[in-house]
């Protein structure tokens, strides 16, 4: 599975849609504000019909409470940029995967103190293995999972045995 959002602007031919993608690239995720919604890989399509913009957005998790905030902030932002009556529509299929995080997202997550997903979900050799997660603070591989869950549904809680600091890990899903 390739990142649908990588190099998005280059792949989009229509100038208006390209402009919308650029605006979206500046809309932050409410829970991990260093990432834009585009870097998170949740923007599935931008369509323009009769002067009205429709943005397809996939929830990262079915119960992610940020979903509605994201929809509202996208609509508000497009409104502010002069796109009247733009609309966000949910896209459930195919389900979002952490493989769709962009390369820049992985780097930003790590700088932010959140360990990025350790491997591609689509890589079958990792299916039955616990991932090896590097500590985002000291890069040690001596880390242990404390809990499958953390402050948001998309993250797990880890502890580093080298620097002894707890940290969050963006789960592979």
């Amino acid at each position: 599975m390739n990142s649908a959002s990588a190099n998005f602007a280059d792949r989009v031919a229509a100038p208006v849609e390209r402009a919308v993608w650029r605006i979206l690239a500046d809309v932050p995720d409410p829970e991990i504000p260093v990432l834009s919604v585009v870097e998170l890989g949740i923007i599935r399509h931008v369509r323009i019909a009769e002067g009205r913009v429709t943005v397809g957005v996939s929830p990262t998790y079915t119960g992610c409470p940020a979903t509605e905030v994201i929809a509202r902030s996208i609509e508000a932002r497009l409104q502010a940029e002069g796109y009247e009556n733009s609309k966000v529509e949910p896209v459930l299929s195919p389900p979002w995967t952490s493989d769709w995080l962009t390369e820049s997202a992985r780097i930003k997550l790590e700088e932010y103190g959140i360990a990025p997903p350790a491997h591609a979900v689509s890589n079958p050799k990792h299916l039955f293995r616990e991932p090896k997660v590097a500590c985002p603070r000291c890069s040690s591989m001596q880390t242990a999972k404390v809990s499958e869950f953390a402050s948001t549904p998309c993250k797990a809680l880890y502890r580093c045995s080298s620097c002894l600091e707890p940290f969050e890990y963006f789960k592979c899903i």
């Binding site: 929830p59 998790y61 079915t62 409470p65 299929s93 809990s147 869950f149 809680l157």
Partner: protein, 262 residues
Amino acid sequence: MSASPAIVTHSASAELRFRYATYLGDTSLILAQRLGEWVGHAPALEEDLALANIALDLLGQARYLLSYAGEIEGKGRSEDDLAFLRDPSDFSNLALVEQPNVDFGHTIVRQFLLDAWQLELFEKLQASSEPRFAELAAKALKETRYHYRFSAGWVVRLGDGTEESHNRVQAGLDALWRFTSEMFAPGAADEEAAAAGLGPDPASLRAAWLANVEQVLQTATLKRPADVPFRWFGKRHQHTDHLSHLLAEMQFMQRTYPGAQW
């Protein structure tokens, strides 16, 4: 008119889709509400977060399914109307999920039995003839996998832990086992849904579920209770008293201040 049986088996009426969606949606919703009761009370912060996170995923499933149910019903009822303004006898969740939390051992067993069932259910529901069910199943399956890792992991830790933890989780299993037969029993919307190609035959989920559950129980040094005939049939709207109490709390705000908005 030539009546072909093929047409009958492939066309699920809106009424059946509504009942199937509310059966699955209510089951997720009621368990989410039960897990929500743990917020601020779990034995450790990590487990508090874990139960709340699982509750959120289940609530997400419920919202999707109840929105769809309201849409297919065509009477203008929203997910909120269905969740907050129906009476206990209108709910069709499995009776297992309305059982009280009691203690962490009971809660984990209830979660484990349900997660193991959802694993099989969502795996097969991906082949539903109704894309809305298939889409949800593909999404929810990913989440159910880590719910299951969490609950099965705790069943083993508690079961194979101290005498106290073993006894508590065994007590939970003994109390809740009788509610599991309903998952696979015929005579409700899921059986009709299977006949219409909407979802899997409930009975077909049992073998894999049982193999999975037995293996975990064995690792956890727990005894599988004997199967007993069951008296409650939540998916046919026959509930234990616990559901009314749960709904009284869950629906309080909308019932007291109809139409209240944040």
